[in-house]
Subunit: 346 residues, 4 copies
């Protein structure tokens, strides 16, 4: 931590800051500049609330030196990447670039079965579908709950696709964990820390979406809640951030891919459906994601988007998915990765 | 809802949209323009997922006409404002502009008692303090839990100040509701819909903070979750939004005050502490809030900010609060409101 | 400047950074931490491109210590504030809070005369009106040019109000400077550095609007372009920033008032018309601005907003202005400032 | 244009809106809904200031139906794309994906020659380099001016690479146009409309960068300034937008590629250097851009970034560029485009 003093800060104020730093268990080192003085705090500041020093008299600002997360940091695993397996043919963090696809909501038994078959036929590697839905509007469809989980399990049974489904509150975690191969935490729950902890306390991998206004630092700090409870299998997911842009529902920030890979060992998946909000932009952004080095994709596909119960505007059709998957395979190859149908895997 | 067709949309595509609209239980009316055709959907679209129409062939975009909330809308109460009473001397939505003040966290029994006395002496009308803390960093202090609630109750006992404290997960709602005079839902839980529902199902008023990347529409929609469960006493709270600005932790958007009062009957409180993140900016923004017509303030005050367990950087000292309260009283008067010490109330 | 090395940076890499720092004419000081090493650069970094050090091997990030402006900084004037006089009764930076008001565009001779009379009658202290308009759309009305300037001068002649008008390109500066009492640089030209320089090379004060996506640091750096050319009379103006909010055209960031007053000696004016984009939000935000300590206001007023040639949606009527001015007078008094009609000045 | 009336708007207010619409030369059509009334305005609203209607009594809000640009719209060219040729081997808008590369500034004669050779050797198709630099800080290096243009011309002479260079003020346009093969308008001048007009009045193509807080609508409207003056050769360029993210200097919004191609016939180039601000993120984002369908790239390359006079932090080295170009070639092929060295073109 670097504490920048105001121009003209007194000796007493500098001493005050040094005392505060020592009270925090850190060492201090003073640097006298031409215009002002800076006090460096030496030691592990990651567990400290650095901002508090800003309240001390004579302080202008405080700058962190160390990123405020540990388990998620790449140094922790000596640059080795975490590999997370949902099934034999759906592995994140390796050469493969798996595609999780399916409808926003599980709409019914027949419907999700049909979706699963279409996903598999198009070349997808996992099935997504919401049984518990966090809806912006209280009057909207909120999902089929446990029945939806059973329908998903039936679809897995038939197709062999592992299932990824959202959990929205701590008390549902155990139930969802029984059915799902991977629990999803949505953007609206990105800082629902009790939910993060609960997901850290169960054995299934977690697809943890970035909050729509989270910085990368805040995102990895929050992921730390899951890791710190003992679950090492966290798949990160960029799904668009909130900006002034109005041609998309969110702005998909693809630079998160190389940045997260630079800082963390966790795999990173891109969701171009929520990341744009418009089906017509999904294929281009999916291709861009793979080229940028993403470790996977999460995509909304619906056999009849105009009649989807939720998120129809951003759901691609099975025909579009099929064509897109062919492109993704070619691009993956061009960046020395692999994105092929399960039936064509070697 | 207005559906804008693409230039050159076919008769068949227009018919398709009309069918979709009717399937939604709405009526359609076609407007043929010089460059393109528009289909208006007539009826109550508030309960509908309008975006889905965007998936229909030939559609360019869909624009909502009605705001997507009902109970929170000002029309619902025929322009009358909701008045919420935490105590005889702390009433939101009337002439009074109450100030909720106190430390970010309940740090200990003596500490919170001291804070309560200082708040009362400075002229505050309610005591805030966190017993359950949602912290960005998993290694930070997470609050004293039920013990903290008991300490708050003791402080109320002595000073008579009603207490406002945060609840972070549905399973704690009943417990917090027993102790608190008003439950706070924080910005990180702004779309934790299960928590909103739980708070809608208990009798105490709710101080519901705006999410840091929520639009006003989304905010009122989410408030609807609480109202729809039967709790009419929701106090809205603007606490800063996430923008590109870096001189503050958040950008306090004061235009939310007149805008929310234009759209909703619910009282609106401003939190200039989180809204700026720096103690030195708090008094100016508190004054601005009262001048803009805010129905109350929520402020972090700490007897020794540099040693606060949480949020010290944005906590003002008792001395600053005292001076600020005098200014607020004068400004309130200038806008025909009232912000005075309990002992000076008529 | 603080250079943070990557964990595991080699001795050679640290030496490389030290060499770079010395090549920049600064001194270096190494701080060896528990997890990583930091190199501090001592000396006046304000004239240096610090970011370049980021390219050196082993560097993780670079953090500036000194703000990158000098003449605009409050230290430069030993905490004294700059006072700028447009006329005897319109002075920025002192006790008075002058209000600049008028239509977006000078629409015609009779029209601007009528506006000037209405501004004066309502209690305004200066007249605004655009003769050269930077319009988002090339097909929109672009202003009356020099004829417009003459109309403004005639309005000044009759009412005694000083005139503030925009200049959009360097080659017009001399002309506008002949007529205007104060040149305005709009948000779209906030980093049109050639225009800033040209305005720095003429004798009239400059009302310099913040860019809609400028940080405070960037804003003061750009103001430095005007100051560095020898013109010390720069009035800063916050007019709303670009954020995700959609209930306003921009988000008026009032914390800019105390922040700019903390960092700079230049007066700061608020424009609640562009800052919100909706006439109905203007009075509340004008009041908030005065309470926050603003040194003046710039407001769009039009006798018939629905027929205004430009910006009608955000123009208040003379009747609304009159009522608002009474409120502003009361609020100014409550913060020990003054905002009264010229005829009532002592 | 759709005018939404407030609930309870009177007949007289509705009539007022109808009159306003007719005064604008448009036709009106009233749609009576269950909760409120809407008035549609029929006709070409693109040349109208729709927002003004918001000022009329009883109006809640106004929504545009038609995008506010014409010449830039894809319908104008019946879905045909504009093809822009800087040289025989550098063509934007076709199968080829040309790469413009070079240093931020022209630093000297030998330097720019060396850069040109390196660009060519690595496989670049055009040389960039600034002779006139718009710098955030007035004390920074501002470019070599006309001398810089001569150095660029000499580099073209030797290597055959066409040159792209920035122009920052209208009075320089003629001069820059004499030397350059393509004029660049930077993000800070995105709404310097006099400069846009001047560039519309000279014969060379224009590389026109998106403003860092411009919506796509505003961007195409502003491009219209160049087109409307008679210059059809505008190359669009996304270079990052201003958001809350702090791990990059800007957020590169790649969805601009498919969106701009959906709305406009103009080619779109991506600048991953400014779009991220960090050299280490450039190759991943360049690859993503090509996969998303970009029509070209603009990249900062410097032989010795740590000693670059400007923008060193975001400049890649020749070695990195060489490797990146090989990847880009493979990805271009995977999306049926082409990005190869001039010497390997068929």
């Amino acid at each position: 931590m670097i504490v920048v003093m105001r121009p003209g800060a007194t000796e007493q104020e500098i001493t005050g800051v040094k005392t505060l730093i020592r009270e925090m268990g850190l060492k201090d080192q003073v640097i006298v500049g031409t215009d002002l003085t800076v006090v460096a705090a030496i030691g592990d500041e990651r567990l400290k609330d650095c901002a508090v020093v800003e309240s001390a008299p004579g302080v202008d600002k405080v700058m962190r030196v160390l990123a405020p997360y540990k388990l998620a940091a790449i140094e922790t695993k000596q640059q080795q990447r975490t590999v997370i397996k949902l099934s034999e043919t759906c592995v994140f963090g390796g050469v493969q670039v798996p595609v999780i696809a399916g409808p926003c909501s599980v709409e019914g038994e027949e419907h999700i079965l049909q979706c699963a078959r279409l996903v598999k036929a198009a070349g997808g590697h996992a099935l997504r579908g919401g049984a518990f839905k966090p809806r912006t509007n209280p009057y909207s469809f909120q999902g089929h709950g446990e029945d939806g989980l059973k329908m998903l399990a039936a679809a897995r049974e038939e197709t062999g696709l592992p299932i990824v489904t959202e959990v929205v509150t701590p008390s549902d975690v155990e139930l969802v964990s029984e059915y799902a191969d991977c629990l999803q935490i949505g953007t609206r729950n990105c800082q629902n820390f009790k939910l993060l902890e609960a997901c850290g306390n169960q054995p299934k991998p977690v697809l943890y979406k970035r909050g729509m206004s989270m910085t990368i630092d805040e995102y990895l700090q929050a992921a730390e809640y899951i890791l710190a409870e003992g679950n090492p299998n966290v798949i990160l997911c960029e799904r668009g951030i909130r900006t002034f842009e109005d041609h998309t529902r969110n702005t998909l920030s693809l630079s998160a891919v190389p940045e997260l890979q630079h800082r963390s060992h966790l795999p990173i998946v891109i969701d171009p459906s929520h990341g744009t909000g418009h089906a017509r932009l999904v294929p281009a952004m999916a291709k861009a994601a793979v080229a940028a080095g993403a470790d996977g994709l999460a995509i909304e596909m619906h056999p009849d988007p105009a009649h989807a119960m939720t998120d129809g505007a951003q759901s691609i059709t099975p025909a579009v998915m099929e064509e897109m998957m062919l492109s993704l395979g070619r691009i993956a190859e061009a960046v020395d990765r692999e994105c092929v149908k399960v039936s064509e895997m070697v």
